[in-house]
Symmetry: C2
Subunit: 393 residues, 2 copies
């Protein structure tokens, strides 16, 4: 008998809250040899990547680049660069990542207020307006466009209108929306928008794309007190991305190669087509889950196409279902975070994962497992309902 040490299995279908499936083209691009951080070839790739990022952010913002860290690094960059100790900030909290914005703002010395909504619901702009009247001048308003913990897509228009009427910057978390849902950066004049690479951009994690409106970038360039973090100081990072004018840190060339290729694939597909693809596959999944007899956490009008949250039926062990999906099908889905722990599953259809065959495979595998555990999942109805959506397309 041959004895081999246990090696990991890489063949998994990533239908959780991220990372999503990375296309082989992107993996190949990433595995090119590294090169110098001031190499002309690398500086060209950086410049092209900035243009490609502007396309997915739908912006003309000069200060558009990728921070060398994950989505949370993007959040910290956005907040650390704007906040000075003692500043009043107002964070919209309807999930785990809103709470994280509160925590980071606090660490950078902000006086933080919140506007709340239950997990699974969007923030009501009326509540925001009332809070703004109540507390008076705030420097920035933080809002999560796509709450990865709940699957809520937050409408932004009224929030941005209120913020700008009150002369406050709007910081938008688009970690799970960028590349999968329209992010109206220039359309609404969002001040700062950040994201991560491993969700709807379908690249490996490790970079945080970020863009700042020119007026907001100018505020940074001129702020008198330097920011608390050196690693996240955008005024220096910006100079490096501008043709290597200064040295700040050695970026991960390989992650940049990957991001560049992933963004090229978005241009080839067309961003509007990509939004539509995410919408249709998510709708097929939702209809299928409902037809199966399950309940979704979020009302149809606020559902986030890249991430669907479905309630765990009574008497079903949610962890067991996830374990079986992995063991029997090598499919990963996510558990609930925070308050929703044990109460929902999070099913991602992001980037390259968002294709018809994954919807159908998932409904079949998931339904079969639920049936074997005693829940009467209507499998035929589920497949019919999903197929109906594809047919109507």
């Amino acid at each position: 008998m041959i004895s081999l040490g246990k090696r990991p299995t890489f063949d998994k279908l990533l239908m959780g809250p991220g990372p999503s499936t990375v296309d082989p083209r992107v993996l190949r691009a990433m595995s090119e040899p590294a090169m110098g951080y001031l190499d002309e070839d690398f500086l060209s790739i950086l410049a092209e990547t900035q243009d490609l990022l502007r396309y997915v952010f739908q912006t003309k913002n000069k200060l558009t680049l990728a921070v060398s860290g994950t989505g949370t690094a993007g959040m910290e960059t956005a907040l650390a660069n704007l906040i000075e100790p003692g500043d009043r900030v107002l964070i919209c909290v309807n999930g785990f990542f809103g709470n994280r914005m509160v925590e980071i703002s606090r660490r950078y010395g902000a006086d933080v207020s919140t506007v709340l909504a239950p997990m699974g619901e969007p923030i009501d702009p009326e509540n925001l307006g009332r809070e703004l009247k109540h507390i008076g001048k705030v420097k920035l308003i933080g809002v999560v466009h796509a709450e990865t913990s709940t699957g809520v897509l937050q409408p932004l228009e009224e929030i941005v209108k209120l913020a700008h009427e009150h002369d406050a910057f709007v910081v938008v978390d688009a970690v799970t929306s960028l590349g999968g849902v329209e992010v109206p950066t220039d359309k609404l004049g969002l001040d700062v928008v950040y994201s991560g690479t491993q969700k709807c951009l379908s690249c490996p994690p490790g970079l945080a794309p970020i863009t700042l409106r020119e007026e907001t970038a100018n505020y940074l360039r001129k702020r008198s007190k330097e920011i608390g973090s050196f690693y996240f100081d955008l005024s220096i990072i910006e100079e490096y991305w501008d043709g290597g004018k200064t040295y700040h840190h050695t970026p991960s060339m390989n992650l940049i190669y990957a991001l560049n290729e992933g963004l090229r694939m978005i241009v080839e597909e067309g961003i509007e087509n990509r939004w539509k693809r995410h919408k249709i596959n998510a709708m097929a999944l939702s209809r299928g889950l409902e037809a199966m007899g399950l309940e979704l956490l979020v009302k149809p009008e606020y559902r986030l196409p890249p991430l669907t949250t479905v309630k765990v039926p009574e008497g079903i062990n949610e962890r067991e279902v996830r374990k079986r999906l992995m063991a029997e099908y090598r499919i990963e889905i996510g558990a609930g975070l925070g308050e929703l722990k044990g109460k929902v599953w999070r099913i991602g259809l992001m980037g390259s994962t968002s294709v018809r065959k994954n919807v159908i495979l998932f409904l079949s595998a998931f339904g079969q497992i639920l049936r074997s555990m005693g829940f009467k999942a209507h499998l035929e109805d589920a497949i019919d309902a999903a197929t109906e959506v594809f047919r109507g397309e």
Copy 2:
């Protein structure tokens, strides 16, 4: 005629201050598909990577992991976790990265003093002792083990002894030494040591290995005031690395795969063999450069094997030499940083780059370019001197 858009050239020999050549095995490991951050397979890879890091750090420290950022992120993590506003810290500055430690300490609210040495020389422990007597109690002493800006290897023993006599933590920058030179973590009881992946570990950039002595880690776990940064908060990151006990951020699986494979290659080679390889190739390079008629910046006893700094001869345009090395040979070397700009070249022999053929190729290419620019480089003597070192081995 076929018209093709300009694409980058990846075939370069990286003999600058980093990144170094990445072995194809590491590139292949990196290009495996991503997986979930709580996937059992991934958690196993993380645990194994911690063990491998302990081997290269020569430590048994429990808190040993890789921060999701570059070497500068490692520096910020080390300082941010130890410093509380108002703390007195003392930084040894003999180059660019010592100055960076000063800047980051200041941003986290420290009251910073410095002990200086000229660029190209090590810190004199006597000066440190005098400064300690003068300023009294300090919380931490920062020192750069391997100054990438000058090529100085700092002896640590006396500095650590002084620090511990004065009850101060020692924070050691081992960005350009780890994996190429002995880093005496447990031997000397270093409190915090951090590094980067793209130097002597020969992995792509993007991760910062770090290790903390148990007493120092306990200080963090108990410190009353939380640290200014959330992204770099080791007390939370540590819990994630400990079997995924908490969620902090989604690490870059692909960079971890790469690091894991790169570290496995170090175990296969044997860390002592690796130190010896770096030493011999660097000696061959130094002897070759001197025999050629050039002067090195650093005295023999303080030379850093992974990085050699050579002075630009009078009348030679240093930038032109680098440009020609890239254009004619696709070899990258580095320019001087800060005060040394225009005055030295920095030649790296790190990790996979540190092999005999690169020494010989470099001496030949470099010597030939210098000759064509009017400097009488003794090419034969250079090759003979380098070969002599290899023969004596």
